[in-house]
């Protein structure tokens, strides 16, 4: 086995066969999933369960009260839930259509959303309605609201036969359902208990507002005579659904918000994969080179192999590390797309391009890292020299949005030919939905390969001089001198 491969093998083993690496590689997606789950759970978490009554002073002559009563009754709540569930199913169906999911997955997603909705509904506060006389004094009736202790733990353990706490007092004036001189309806007032959860406040006013709207419609002389019920009017007001289709030379494709999102998410995913695998290998290359230098093992190695063999071996070893990460993560990505039957979103050719641009980006970055690692003695000395690498890592993040929106703009084409950025820019463009001119693919690959070769050549020069230099860390000017030396 050639010596270079021995170096590569050691580099790979000493990087991968550590607890830190294994935990890090497995943990990154696990942390992501856990964090996502935590956000979902947390958003479903209700505040302290608030149970209590809502008092209503209806001054409209009893026009609003029945509607409010209905919306606070079990029957009304059940009807509302049914309506929501239907709307949700409809949305999901449309989403599933857009993704082209089959029936099995459609049912699966529907089941998940139903159970989520049921859980959300379970947290709806138990509210009872108390109708107060029309001439009740709002100031006097506010007193129980003021006295309510919404978040007081002792309040929750009050005797079961105790009267419910008053969480809110609503006062609906006649103007709320009849227009004034300016043709506008007047407002109504709700007084909430201190620290009452915002969602509960919204729920209360939503129910009352809906009842008021119903009352307006019913009391309007124009509907009183006719046959238009409030439900009819709501139905009339509902915006129609749009079925947009994009017409291309290949045929028609449905347009939806979701394809737009995936059109953005997939390029980001590809860029992320590329960046993660390149940077992990590159970072390890920097660390191990600095370690070999600072632990003075370098000269021992150089008695057996040439600097070039050492550098090439190390780069190959870390390339294998990068490829491992690329394989594991992209494998996980492809597997989850297959499970969800969304594999049609993935162009197999893009996986090939991912590999090609990984190699280009990796050799470029690795050359930089090897050169920097050889030139410094400590990690912190490397920071200033890392600036160009960091720029190449940060810029794609800033650019990913504008590039995926206009993948064929002139400036994007120009960026595709800038060494360092070119693999990332091209990956974003290739993974997007808009095809790019065919000539640009081989041309940018050629630019990438040439730049990587130049970087490797310069790195070899710096490496040869740098590995035995101790003391003051060099700046870019010194590095340039080393490159021109010999």
């Amino acid at each position: 086995m050639p010596k270079t491969l021995h170096v590569a093998l050691r580099e790979f083993n000493s990087t991968v066969l550590t607890k830190g690496f294994i935990v890090g590689m497995l943990m990154t997606p696990v942390i992501l999933i856990v964090a996502l789950g935590a956000v979902m759970v947390l958003s479903n978490l209700e505040g302290p369960r608030a149970a209590g009554e809502v008092a209503l002073i209806d001054r409209t002559g009893g026009l609003v009260a029945p509607g409010v009563e209905y919306r606070f009754s079990e029957e009304g709540i059940a009807a509302e839930r049914a309506r929501q569930a239907e709307a949700l199913d409809h949305t999901l169906d449309r989403a599933a259509d857009a993704f082209g999911a089959d029936d099995k997955h459609r049912d699966m997603v529907r089941g998940i959303s139903r159970s989520a909705a049921a859980r959300a509904n379970g947290s709806i506060p138990v509210l009872s309605l108390r109708l107060l006389p029309e001439d009740a004094d709002p100031e006097a009736e506010k007193a129980p609201v003021k006295a309510a202790r919404v978040r007081d733990p002792s309040a929750a353990s009050r005797a079961p036969d105790a009267p419910p706490q008053r969480l809110a007092l609503a006062v609906v004036p006649p103007e709320a359902i009849s227009t004034g001189d300016d043709g506008r309806y007047g407002p109504y007032e709700v007084y909430f208990a201190d620290k009452l959860d915002f969602q509960i406040q919204q729920e209360i006013s939503r129910r009352i507002s809906a009842a008021i709207v119903d009352a307006r419609i019913r009391s309007d002389p124009r509907t009183q005579a006719g046959s238009l019920a409030p439900e009819d009017i709501r139905a009339l007001l509902k915006e129609p659904e749009v079925t947009g289709r994009t017409v291309t030379a290949d045929g028609e494709k449905p347009v939806s918000k979701l394809t737009e999102i995936t059109g953005f998410l997939i390029p980001v995913a590809f860029m992320l994969l590329l960046m993660m695998s390149v940077m992990t290998g590159g970072q390890y290359l920097l660390t191990t080179t600095i370690e070999e230098k600072s632990s003075r093992v370098m000269e021992v190695l150089l008695s057996a192999i040439s600097p070039m063999q050492l550098m090439v071996g190390k780069i190959l070893g870390q390339m294998a590390v990068g490829l491992l990460i690329l394989t594991v993560y992209s494998g996980a990505g492809v597997a989850s797309l297959l499970i969800l039957s969304l594999d049609h979103l993935l162009n197999p050719m893009n996986v090939v391009y991912l590999l090609v641009f990984f190699l280009i980006a990796f050799f470029l970055i690795a050359s930089f890292m090897a050169a920097i690692g050889s030139a410094v003695t400590e990690m912190r000395e490397a920071q200033t020299l890392m600036t160009p690498v960091m720029a190449a890592m940060v810029l794609p993040w800033i650019l990913v949005m504008p590039i995926s929106r206009a993948p064929n703009a002139g400036w994007v084409t120009a960026l595709s030919f800038i060494p360092g950025l070119n693999p990332f820019v091209m990956m974003i463009r290739l993974a997007g939905s808009e095809p790019i001119p065919a000539w640009q693919i081989p041309a940018t690959i050629a630019v990438g390969v040439i730049s990587a070769m130049i970087a490797a050549w310069a790195a070899a020069k710096v490496f040869r001089v740098g590995i035995l230099m101790y003391g003051k860390p060099p700046n870019f000017r010194t590095l340039w001198r080393w490159i021109r030396m010999a």
Partner: protein, 334 residues
């Protein structure tokens, strides 16, 4: 006898500093050569050039009959001055890695590593991480890394530094063992004791120039101090010693401590040494009389002084050589 290393007109400068200046030397195959010189004399630079780790500005180096060490790296064992180990690597794995880099077949490598670890008293270290070993232990590991591939040429840069007396002796034995196996060994040191003990031949460089290149025997003969060490039975006989024919002067013996009763009788240039010694023995009763042998240390100091430098004081050198030896004896007897 062929030469393991031939250096011709070697010159290397770092910026304005001339590190090695037109150096030529030959290392005959199968010999142990000491490479001595004060700190900063250019020893490590020369060795690095021999190893093709850095390249000379001018001059030729032939190693083991090849144009450079690059072509014969697998036949050379090298212990650099700047040496280290992979801290997190296990000792056995580190040695196996170094051996494989030197082209050793992995078959039979493990038992061999175990054998050598046992030989240097680190039998239990195979599964330990390198960072868990002391510096001296690490140095022995590095020595093993240099010899595991059974090289024809062994280059050891400052191999004795940082070793305790017991391990110094072990290292001398190991080097001697390698020598008896027919290997050419070149080691640099600035401690004279080991050089004197081990070397067939000594090179000395100073300010990048060669100031000494000779076999040990010839050096000692050439730097014959023409002195007789005398320890009289009675101190009052000193006058008699000074009056002996051929004795040019008497000084209190140096290097043997302040309470020494050994005196050094310098002899005239023309006097026959054997006859003079007989005359001294006849002139006064002596506890001890011997011909003073030059030590490499004397040569070292003499050469450095001759080049107009402040020589390292005896105390500085003594700390490394004689005291080192005494300390070693004490440690071994304990």
């Amino acid at each position: 006898m062929t030469d393991a290393i031939v250096i011709d007109g070697l010159t290397k400068s770092f910026g304005p500093k001339l590190a090695v200046d037109n150096l030529s030397l030959r290392v005959p195959a199968g010999t142990v050569c000491g490479f001595i010189g004060p700190n900063g004399a250019g020893k490590t630079t020369t060795i690095r050039m021999i190893m093709s780790i850095i390249f000379p500005d001018r001059g030729d180096i032939r190693v083991l009959g090849r144009a450079s060490a690059v072509e014969s790296k697998d036949r050379i064992g090298y212990l650099p001055e700047e040496r280290g180990v992979y801290r997190k690597m296990k000792v056995g794995a580190f040695l196996a890695y170094m051996a494989r880099l030197k082209g050793v077949d992995s078959r039979g490598l493990r038992p061999k590593i175990r054998h050598w670890l046992d030989r240097v008293g680190l039998a239990d270290a195979e599964k330990k991480r390198c960072e868990d070993l002391s510096k001296g232990m690490q140095q022995k590991i590095q020595f093993l890394a240099a010899i595991l591939h059974e090289p024809d040429l062994l280059i050891l840069d400052e191999v004795f530094s940082g070793l305790d007396p017991v391990n110094r002796r072990l290292m001398r034995e190991l080097i001697d063992e390698q020598h008896r196996m027919g290997r050419t060994i070149i080691f640099s040191t600035h401690t004279m004791y080991e050089a004197e003990q081990l070397c067939d031949r000594v090179f000395m460089i100073h300010h990048g120039r060669k100031v000494l290149d000779d076999s040990m025997r010839d050096i000692l003969a050439r730097f014959d101090p023409r002195s007789v060490l005398v320890e009289p039975m009675h101190e009052e006989d000193l006058d008699a010693l000074a009056r002996v024919e051929g004795v040019a002067g008497v000084v209190r013996g140096v290097g043997a401590g302040l309470r020494s009763r050994v005196y050094e009788a310098r002899l005239d240039e023309r006097v026959d040494v054997a006859q003079a010694m007989a005359r001294i023995a006849a002139a006064l009763p002596v506890r001890r009389i011997e011909l003073k042998r030059v030590s490499l240390e004397d040569v070292f100091i003499d050469l450095v002084q001759r080049s107009g430098e402040r020589a390292p004081s005896r105390a500085e050198l003594g700390a490394d050589s004689e005291l080192g030896a005494a300390e070693e004896e004490a440690a071994l007897n304990a």
